[in-house]
């Protein structure tokens, strides 16, 4: 069995650690590229959302590399992500690939049950071993996310262009290879120190921008054209509101984060509408209250929950007097066009601060 999965931020690192931990061969799809997108677009419905298309591209590239089993998450709606796997399987079948697709329903409640279900697809695996490698994988993910959060602030102050990004990439690679919790912690603190040492630029006016929106678009720098880096290079500190670790831990352990979202969104959006629509509204309110300079909302074309959120946060923007810009991404999005829009947005933010 040669297993593969779609890319989504640092997800591949966790899945790889987990599956290799239980002795299953993993075929990582090549990093998402223009070729991946082209393959996905060619074989998907015109109006399906961008993550779906990139998944299809990932799968095709991985199957070409010799994978024979695809692991995909399912769901119970109302976001269409929950039905992705069912449709993708038919697309790949029509392309003539021979493979098995395992569609796992997301963990509702206990991680243990989720792993048990997972283990049922791999009869020779002890789920206790699986749990152990899963926990190591989760620790890596949390560390990687911490490092990214730190980078998105510090890179705005870096001494030479690109220097902190280089350090970050180096330490992410080290994290991937880490064998235990002690090593993970050591790599993390070393990486943070090194980034800090190379970020000493101070400004009179320091802008802060929150990135809200659809989780896949926020997690995959290749699909959002690395918007965090673009903003950092314009001297803006960035707070990204979606991380894989937050998401997985919240959906696995039912932490009170959802209640916090509901509280923040009250008066604007009164319930979960699927996908990350509620998060987008709640986070926009949260960072408006924290007096951030602006909010950038990113979403894939035709994403229904985010379109509803887009209408609502326009009102949040008026009520709290905070600039909000929505960027819609699809396969035709051009880098130059968005660079211009982001620069104009940042100029506006400086103007508002009197510069």
């Amino acid at each position: 069995m040669k297993i593969t999965y779609p890319h989504m931020g640092s997800l591949n690192m966790i899945l790889k650690t987990m599956f290799e931990g239980i002795g299953i061969e993993v075929i990582d799809p090549p990093p998402s590229s223009n070729k991946t997108l082209t393959l996905g677009v060619r074989n998907s419905h015109e109006f399906v959302c961008l993550p779906f298309k990139i998944n299809v591209g990932n799968f095709i590239e991985a199957l070409e590399k010799g994978a024979d089993t695809i692991v995909m998450l399912g769901g119970i709606g109302p976001c269409r992500f929950g039905y992705y796997g069912q449709v993708q399987r038919e697309i790949l079948k029509d392309l003539g690939y021979n493979f098995e697709m395992i569609i796992l329903d997301p963990p509702h409640g206990r991680v243990k049950d989720f792993l048990k279900e997972l283990a049922s697809h791999f009869p020779n695996v002890d789920w206790k071993v699986a749990l152990k490698s899963f926990m190591l994988a989760v620790k890596k993910m949390i560390a990687a996310d911490k490092l990214e959060k730190f980078l998105l602030i510090q890179r705005a102050h870096e001494d030479a262009p690109g220097i902190t990004t280089k350090i970050y990439e180096e330490y992410i690679k080290k994290l991937e290879k880490a064998q235990n919790a002690r090593e993970i912690n050591q790599i993390l603190s070393e990486g943070m120190n090194k980034i800090k040492q190379n970020a000493n630029v101070k400004r009179k006016i320091q802008l802060r921008v929150a990135l809200v929106g659809e989780i896949y678009m926020l997690l995959e720098p290749s699909t959002n054209m690395n918007i965090g880096k673009t903003l950092n290079e314009l001297g803006v500190e960035v707070t990204k509101t979606e991380y894989l670790s937050d998401y997985l831990i919240n959906s696995a352990f039912k932490l009170p984060q959802r209640l916090e979202f509901k509280k923040n969104a009250r008066g604007y959006l009164e319930r979960d509408i699927g996908g990350h629509g509620l998060n987008t509204v709640a986070n926009t309110v949260k960072y408006a209250k924290l007096k951030y300079d602006g909010v950038i909302h990113i979403l894939p074309f035709t994403c229904t929950p985010e379109i509803i959120a887009q209408g609502i946060i326009a009102k949040v923007s008026r009520d709290y007097d905070i600039p909000v810009m929505s960027l819609v991404y699809d396969e035709n999005t051009g880098q130059a066009g968005y660079q211009t829009r982001i620069e104009a947005f940042v100029d506006l933010l400086y103007k508002r601060r009197g510069l």
Binding site: S44, H45, E46, F47, V48, C49, G75, I76, G77, P78, C79, R80, G82, Y83, Q86, V87, R89, E90, I91, D94, I103, Y268, L269, E270, R271, D272, I273, G274, G275, G277, F301, T302, C303, T304, P305, I307, I308, A309, Q310, G311, I312, A314, K315, V328
Partner: protein, 330 residues
């Protein structure tokens, strides 16, 4: 004098108007609807909506503005989460009242109760009681109105199963006349129309698609005319059921016709940018292509769709179906 409750003529109006109208009228309110969709309504909707929203949502925004201009006491914009157990509706219905309230300023009070049968009926009953309280009526009154509404809804649903379109059934229900289905024309073709009623029942948005097909000699079968058993029979051919009610119906009907025939061709109509349809279209198109024995056409409509283009495509499709038929007979 009773208060005036306005109901926008869009989205699930075509599915639940009898229930909603009865409920408010039993409670002593006067119910008015917005006008039929027209250019102004669509323009208002497009102007005041989010660019990427689908056409039915934009049109709905236009209908709400129409009601606002006409000065009603309340506007009924329910948050429809689920209309049956363990199934959802598309996200846009879940956030609809919030979305509309954010887009349109100075709205009259909105009755934004949550219709949610995901777990049971009790929740929704409580919400209708809340609507009754907004109109100053007691719990008992509201429950009575709710039950009466459900009864009227059943009568309306029965008309659909007799082969009337939602629009015809709504008219018959409102006028209280029981008609026998007239065999207006001799139809030599049968075409299934797979779509949300808010696309094909809105004669402005769909450019009178149903009448056009009938004028070409085709009898039209919609998803709503099928009984639940047939839909579930169709669903059983899918690898996995889908979690949206209306998409389940469309997929189920599509698979039912593909496997059981009974129609000469199938047209699927969807709105530009429709999220759920991107999944159902993809699946149906693939399943139809694999079997290659029932003609299938996709028709996408948006605010720029030209009537001539649609006409050309359905004419060509109908010609193809006739050609197929003769090939079999001869």
């Amino acid at each position: 004098m009773g208060k005036i409750v306005g109901i926008p003529k869009g989205l699930l109006y075509y599915d639940f108007y009898p229930m909603w109208k009865t409920f408010f009228e039993v409670l002593g309110a006067k119910v008015i609807t917005s006008q039929n969709t027209n250019k102004k309504i669509v323009d208002d909707g497009v102007k005041n909506s989010v660019e990427d929203a689908c056409l039915p949502v934009k049109t709905y925004v236009g209908h709400v503005m129409d009601l606002k201009e006409r000065g009603v006491d309340y506007i009924f914009i329910p948050r429809i989460v689920s209309v049956e157990k363990k199934k959802y509706l598309c996200s846009k219905f879940l956030g609809l009242p919030d979305f509309i309230k954010s887009l349109i300023k100075d709205l009259p009070p909105v009755i934004d109760i949550e219709i949610n049968y995901y777990k049971d009926e009790e929740f929704t009953k409580r919400e209708f009681i809340r609507a009754g309280k907004m109109l100053g009526r007691t719990k008992g009154d509201a429950l009575k109105a709710y039950l009466k509404g459900m009864e009227e809804q059943r009568r309306f649903k029965n008309l659909l199963k007799e082969g009337f379109t939602n629009l015809e059934a709504l008219k018959m229900w409102e006028e209280g006349k029981v008609k026998v289905r007239e065999e207006r024309r001799r139809f030599d073709l049968k075409i299934a129309l797979l779509s949300h009623p808010y696309n094909i029942m809105d004669e402005y948005i769909s450019m009178g698609l149903i009448e056009k097909l009938r004028n070409m000699g085709a009898e039209v079968i919609t998803v709503e005319m099928l009984n639940k058993a047939s839909i579930l029979e169709g669903v059983a051919f899918l690898p996995k059921d889908i979690f949206w009610t209306y998409e389940r119906d469309i997929l189920g009907a599509g698979m039912y016709f593909l496997k059981k025939k009974g129609v000469d061709g199938v047209i699927m109509v969807s709105a530009f940018g429709c999220g759920p349809n991107s999944m159902t279209e993809e699946l149906l198109e693939r399943f139809y292509k694999r079997e290659k024995n029932l003609p299938f056409m996709l028709l996408t409509i948006d605010e720029h769709t030209g009537e001539a283009g649609v006409m050309t495509r359905i004419e060509a499709f109908v010609d193809l179906l006739r050609f197929n038929k003769k090939a079999v007979v001869v």
